[in-house]
């Protein structure tokens, strides 16, 4: 446990030190939100209606962008070999990496969802539900993304393939998250949607690291 926390701290530090990368991700999120009104027109009513879905779509694209390099940089500089040789169990190392990645994305979103909501003229009463759905949903995206990243790591770099692999698995997350926002908009209970997102997270958190570890081992083996 102590080693795990130490590892997590190191991973967090690694993530926060690459500030340029993080800023680029956050800017990407804002730019997608900024471009959408040009694509669908500046009608405030339409934008307000679509805002939660658009923000979620931007968050999903941003996670995809972040995942593209998840294990590839480690494979290139040899960190991955050290991870495989480490006395710590590989799933634990993977878990720490994914937690750091998810935290950094959620932190960026927490900062930027407010401004994005203002840009799109979203009903601000929705903001807590939207943030909660992002806090539950983005880690699910990262865990699923880790699986796809681990099985494509031997291919070095193929972002289009990664996206194709992930889209089917991302659909339920998008559905439940958008469902929560929609329910909040209609005044219906949001708990079932958020609970389902939470259930997906609870299912993936203990299982995905093992799958990812298997994927990494077969890539290096």
């Amino acid at each position: 446990m102590k080693n795990f926390l130490r590892l997590l701290r190191a991973d967090m530090r690694l993530q926060t030190r690459c500030r340029a990368e993080w800023v680029a991700l956050v800017m990407f999120f804002i730019i997608v939100n900024f471009l959408l009104p040009f694509a669908i027109g500046p009608d405030p009513e339409l934008l307000q209606r679509l805002a939660p879905g658009l923000i979620w779509l931007a968050a999903l694209l941003m996670s995809l962008l972040a995942l593209e390099t998840l294990f590839i940089a480690d494979a290139r500089d040899g960190t991955l070999d050290l991870m495989l040789l480490s006395p710590l169990p590989l799933p634990l190392i993977v878990l720490s990496k994914l937690i750091a990645q998810a935290l950094i994305i959620v932190a960026g979103l927490a900062l930027m969802v407010g401004p994005a909501a203002l840009l799109l003229g979203m009903n601000l009463a929705l903001l807590p539900v939207l943030l909660l759905s992002l806090a539950l949903g983005v880690p699910v995206l990262v865990l699923l993304g880790g699986v796809a990243a681990s099985i494509t790591v031997a291919l070095n770099r193929n972002p289009a393939l990664l996206i194709l692999l992930l889209i089917p698995f991302y659909i339920p997350v998008l559905i439940f998250a958008a469902g929560a926002c929609e329910a909040a908009l209609m005044g219906a209970p949001v708990a079932p949607h958020l609970l389902l997102l939470g259930a997906m997270l609870a299912l993936l958190l203990p299982s995905a690291p093992f799958v990812i570890a298997a994927g990494l081992r077969s890539a290096e083996g």
């Binding site: 393939l161 194709l164 692999l165 089917p168 339920p172 559905i175 994927g215 890539a219």
Partner: protein, 241 residues
Amino acid sequence: MPVSRFANPGKFLRLADRLLPWLGTAAIVSFAYGLYLALYASPPDYQQGETVRIMYVHVPAAWMGLVIYVAMAIIAGIGLVARHALADIFCTAAAPVGAVLTALCLITGSLWGQPTWGAWWVWDARLTSVLILFFLYCGYILLRHSFDDHDKGGKAGAILLLVGIVNIPIIHFSVLWWNTLHQPPSVFRLTGPSIAPGMLKPLLAMAFAYLLYAKSVILLRMKTELLARKIETTEMLDDSD
């Protein structure tokens, strides 16, 4: 273990050679019989008229699309655990067959939807699920073909298939739920709650024909895949000399 006997590619090839002519003939015969029943010897629907005959091509394609995916996932799982040499060969050979049948299901569904619903595509839960299944197939095929190393590629593909099979119920359920939030499903129900016996017989005959077709094509493709890999190995050995 009777299955592991066929892990020997030579034995498998001999068995495949003996089975293929029978399976192929049976597939052709059952297609002829099924199509005769479906196109002539079955009643037109009282509401949809003759367009209902699309069903006999459409529904078995959907069934086979799903059946092949499940079979691939189960065999990939066995392959991962037991390191059966033929598991990856089966998955590589079966994936395009499943993808084509799923695409056939989507295309015939679209052709059927136009006259009955008045739209080529609707965001019905079942349609969306089949489209997602098609994407799963595409992802697997592209992933598998991106690897030069069959050992690594097979493992990566097997992991994807296993994650996919766990997720298929979640995806299906979520899409169903999503759709019912937006529009009542009763509008876009494909068939009534029960199917007339005059239609059930041709449907089952066609399903049987599809099954035999898939089996013979997959067996043939497995044979080709085995031979292709043998050639690859021989070429590699020649290069190293």
